[in-house]
């Protein structure tokens, strides 16, 4: 029988912080404009330039550390990581090798089975991004717009044991940084980048196996695929009596497998030492307080509230996928939407479908949240039925019409005036003596017919339940005159 192996996985995540300016220079951190236009002298390492720590990046890092329940350093220190590379302008990267801003945190993940697990985070540290390179056949281009963009590197403990766990962990981190508004968290755009370290060991062994690092995981789904592939590959090697060799591999998206990039034997010595141009910065407790107390609500808090609102797991998770959706949802509840499930249905089914079809986002909607709440109130109060409500919504989406106007325009408002319904009922009963008789002799289908006649006479506007009530009051119980 084949040996059973236990995989062990650690994940390093580089989160690009969406601050206004770069980590150590005043150039914008957006890096989308024309090449090399978003740079300051420091970004190209002109001689004599000096780093100035970006306060906003520090505040962002503090928020993430707090969300991950980490110990936050009270004194910030930075170090140099020295190596030569064309995309590294200074010949060193400023990072926090010896004293990271955050230490020892954790995050909870929920597996597909419903099981909950806590993943421990070793540390989080601030550093800076490199330039972008473009290599053509005979020429290379360098774009320094990205050089110096702030990064927060979050390092997990080797706490995960499957591709699913690794994926869920990255998802949880992505959720936190996007909800905090500190990063776009888009793996496909590189605003969040993951490296995984994967090793396997025979079950029961107290020693970890040789690890391989896997890079180039451009989607959350790829993390699971890469880890699962790598676990199988290593198991096959060990089963054949071959050793796992420590190396860096990358995920080949086409083949859905990991391929060797380079052996780890000649690891670079980064010659770390303290950055002498940044004196230690004592974090002011007011600054810490402000950073923590200006944090956005975290997904875990929303999750709890939404379940309390009566949404099921599927509804909660689909709503949490985008922070904008849950903010919209929350706002509508605050504005007086009474039924969260109906609100979810209108927002996540109808409105989202329309937005997707028209390639628009919530901010493009031509009506206000107040108008959606008004529509839901009309429905809730029985002024219109749900079929009509969806019809109104469609008008609102297409034309930006107000719900009250549409209801009036289309004559949808139900007749709920008691005397009007009395008159309608009197008229129908007078014209349908035979049906009344049938009812009284025990033919129960006659009631439905009579209600239908009231609706027909009122062109569908009569409140059907009121009509039914009044008919019953007039004609008595079914079979009351049965022989």
């Amino acid at each position: 029988m084949a040996t059973e192996y236990i995989p062990t996985i650690g994940v390093e995540i580089h989160v690009q912080l969406k601050t206004k300016s770069k980590m150590f220079s005043s150039a914008p951190a957006t890096y989308g404009l024309s090449p090399n236009s978003e740079t300051m002298p420091l970004d190209l390492a002109f001689p004599g330039t000096m780093p100035v720590v970006n306060k906003e990046a520090v505040a962002f890092a503090i928020k993430v550390c707090e969300a991950l329940h980490m110990d936050i350093a009270r004194t910030l220190r930075f170090d140099r990581k020295n190596y030569f590379y064309p995309d590294l302008t200074k010949g060193y990267q400023i990072t926090q090798q010896f004293d990271p801003i955050g230490k020892g945190g954790e995050v909870e993940i929920t597996l597909d089975s419903g099981e909950k697990k806590t993943i421990h985070v070793e540390q989080a540290h601030l550093e800076e991004d490199t330039a972008k390179q473009l290599h053509l056949a005979d020429i290379s281009f360098l774009n320094y717009n990205r050089a110096g963009v702030p990064l927060l590197e979050i390092v997990s403990l080797p706490d995960m044991h499957s591709g699913e766990e690794a994926m869920k962990y990255v998802e949880a981190i992505r959720e936190i940084v996007t909800y905090l508004g500190v990063s776009d968290g888009k793996m496909e755009d590189g605003s969040m980048r993951c490296d995984t370290n994967i090793s396997i060991a025979p079950k029961g062994s107290d020693k970890l196996g040789t690890k391989c690092e896997c890079k180039n995981l451009n989607t959350i789904q790829n993390i699971r695929l890469a880890v699962d592939y790598e676990v199988k590959r290593q198991a096959k090697l060990l089963d054949c009596g071959e050793p796992v060799i420590q190396e860096t591999r990358r995920f080949d998206e086409g083949k859905k497998e990991t391929v060797m990039m380079r052996k780890k034997t000649n690891a670079i010595d980064y010659k770390y030492f303290r950055e002498p141009n940044i004196v230690p910065i004592d974090l002011d407790s007011g600054f810490l307080y402000d950073s923590i107390h200006s944090m956005n609500k975290l997904p875990s808090a929303y999750r709890k509230e939404l379940h309390e609102d009566g949404l099921n797991d599927y509804q909660v998770e689909s709503l949490l996928r985008e922070r904008d959706d849950v903010l919209y949802f929350e706002d509508c509840l605050k504005l007086g939407a009474k039924n969260p499930v109906t609100l979810w249905d209108f927002l996540m089914v109808d409105i989202k479908a329309w937005l997707n079809k028209n390639e628009k986002t919530l901010s493009d909607l031509r009506f206000q949240k107040e108008n959606l709440v008004e529509l839901l109130t009309l429905l809730g109060n029985g002024k219109i039925n749900s079929k009509q409500a969806k019809e109104v919504l469609s008008e609102m989406l297409e034309k930006g019409s107000l719900p009250g106007d549409v209801v009036k325009e289309k004559g949808m408002e139900q007749i709920s005036d008691s005397s009007l319904i009395d008159a309608l009922v009197k008229d129908v009963l007078g014209k349908n003596g035979q049906s009344v008789l049938d009812w009284q002799q025990g033919h129960d289908h006659a009631l439905g017919y009579l209600v239908g006649q009231v609706m027909k006479t009122s062109h569908g506007k009569a409140n059907p339940s009121m009509a039914k009530e009044k008919i019953l009051a007039a004609i008595g119980k079914c079979g009351s005159k049965k022989n």
Partner: protein, 485 residues
């Protein structure tokens, strides 16, 4: 034509205020001085810009102390539009597009830059002979070194070409050449003057410094260039002061100390005599003079500690010089980026620089870091702790800045001494502690000037000036100019 540039800033200022001379005339006088330079003092020059700036000055007010007066900057200060090479091939043709903070502060104070001065390559050297333009000579004796690394600035002020020149001081790069050239050389407290735009050698030790020919001028210059700079996080936010007032109002502290080990090691009797005479003169002026037992093993540690820390930092600081962004590009069609950088750096640095980089890298390698770099950091801590103990009891440290006359250029060796004399490295102590430190002339020996050095507590730059001014009165050596006769 009257010679102006051999005068002090104070005299020039008075003449400008009284309209006895115009700024343009001063600039022309400085330019003719540059043209008569016999010491190889200059890199790129900017006469036209200087003339233009000077031409705009029609009036100088009493409080505009530096306005209209020419100066020179060491070639490791970034100057917009003026080639800045740090006297290294690796930066030939590099024209910065921004000014160092000190350069823009001096411009706003009205000082006029007339050019850049030679230096030891990338400020790494103490002889003034390692720059890409060859040897910079000592005006007092061209066979002898002027010292470095701020050699050209020292030579320019000493020859009476300008009354002030910017330098930088990582070990003693202003204060040693000041001693060799009969000048006042001042290095401010670390963090007192912005280093933004100063090409870094070893940032934890680097300080902006400058040369003048008297102490009062030196104090006035600090008032103009000190202060916090948002571009330099290590610059102090302490309030700027009017440092000249320490001299003018004789605001001073009372306890002057010397290291016993240093006193005992001075072998030249004339230097020792002059040193003792100054100490004696200070006693007469009411100062208390104290001997202090600074541990000799820490003095012996100065040189290796300095070499390890400065080389380690320099190898990292100069890693930006890869020929990609600025400086001469690789020419021999390299095929890979590794070949490109290797070629640019091989051609750009001299062997002396490469040796420092190798030592720096070696001491930072993970297998050596604990034994070399970390040990040097610990030694630095001990050196500074002991210096702090000294300053707990005593206000000033006073030592000779040199213990013999400068070496002959022909006798220089690039071999590194295996048993260095701590006297040759005593001034580095002020860089380790970030202290304000000033050298001024003490005596002449065989026709060569030798300086005295005063070091104070961090941010007591003003008190250093006041003691220096008292010493200046005792020696009577001020306003020294070595002009071609």
């Amino acid at each position: 034509m009257t010679k102006w540039m051999n005068k002090s800033i104070a005299e020039l200022h008075a003449a400008l205020v009284k309209k006895e001379v115009t700024s343009l005339e001063l600039v022309e006088d400085a330019i003719s001085g540059v043209q008569g330079d016999t010491c190889n003092s200059f890199e790129a020059l900017c006469f036209e810009e200087a003339r233009k700036e000077a031409g705009k000055i029609t009036e100088v007010k009493e409080e505009e102390y530096l306005k209209g007066i020419p100066y020179v900057a060491k070639d490791n200060f970034s100057t917009a539009g003026i080639e800045t090479t740090a006297s290294s091939k690796i930066l030939e043709g590099y024209v910065p597009f921004f000014d160092a903070t000190v350069v823009s502060k001096l411009r706003r104070a009205g000082m006029i830059l007339i050019g850049k001065s030679t230096m030891d390559e990338l400020a790494m050297g103490g002889t003034g002979t390692t720059g890409h333009k060859g040897n910079t000579l000592n005006p007092y004796n061209p066979e002898r070194i002027i010292g470095g690394s701020s050699c050209g600035s020292a030579a320019a002020v000493s020859q009476g070409i300008v009354p002030m020149a910017l330098g930088s001081d990582t070990g003693d790069s202003v204060r040693k050449p000041a001693s060799n050239a009969g000048l006042v050389g001042f290095k401010a407290t670390w963090g007192r003057i912005s280093r933004y735009g100063l090409f870094p050698f070893a940032p934890s030790l680097d300080a902006v410094g400058y040369f003048t020919r008297n102490v009062l001028d030196s104090a006035y210059v600090l008032s103009a260039i000190a202060g916090h700079d948002k571009n330099d996080m290590s610059s102090s936010s302490r309030k700027n002061e009017k440092y000249q007032n320490y001299v003018l109002q004789k605001k001073t502290l009372k306890k002057v100390g010397y290291f016993k080990a240093v006193m005992d090691s001075i072998s030249n009797p004339r230097i020792k005599k002059a040193y003792l005479e100054v100490l004696d003169g200070l006693k007469k002026k009411g100062y208390e003079v104290l001997s202090y037992d600074y541990p000799v093993e820490l003095l012996d540690a100065l040189y290796p500690t300095y070499m390890i820390i400065s080389c380690a930092e320099s190898t990292s600081n100069n890693a930006n010089l890869d020929g990609i962004k600025f400086g001469p590009a690789a020419k021999n069609s390299p095929r890979t980026w590794q070949e490109y950088m290797t070629e640019a750096r091989t051609a750009g640095f001299t062997d002396l620089i490469k040796r420092r980089f190798v030592i720096g890298s070696f001491s930072l390698l993970s297998e050596n870091q604990e034994e070399m770099f970390c040990r040097a950091q610990k030694a630095r801590r001990l050196i500074v702790n002991e210096l702090n103990k000294f300053f707990d009891q005593i206000d000033y440290l006073i030592v000779p800045a040199a213990y013999s006359i400068p070496k002959k250029i022909s006798e220089l060796s690039t071999k590194w001494s295996t048993k260095p004399d701590f006297l040759d490295n005593i001034l580095t102590i002020g860089n380790f502690g970030g202290n304000p430190s000033l050298t001024l002339p003490l005596l002449f020996e065989e026709g060569m000037p030798i300086g005295l050095n005063i070091t104070g507590r961090p941010f007591e730059d003003g008190y250093v000036f006041s003691l220096a001014s008292a010493v200046e009165e005792i020696t009577g050596l001020k306003g020294l100019v070595k002009e071609e006769k």
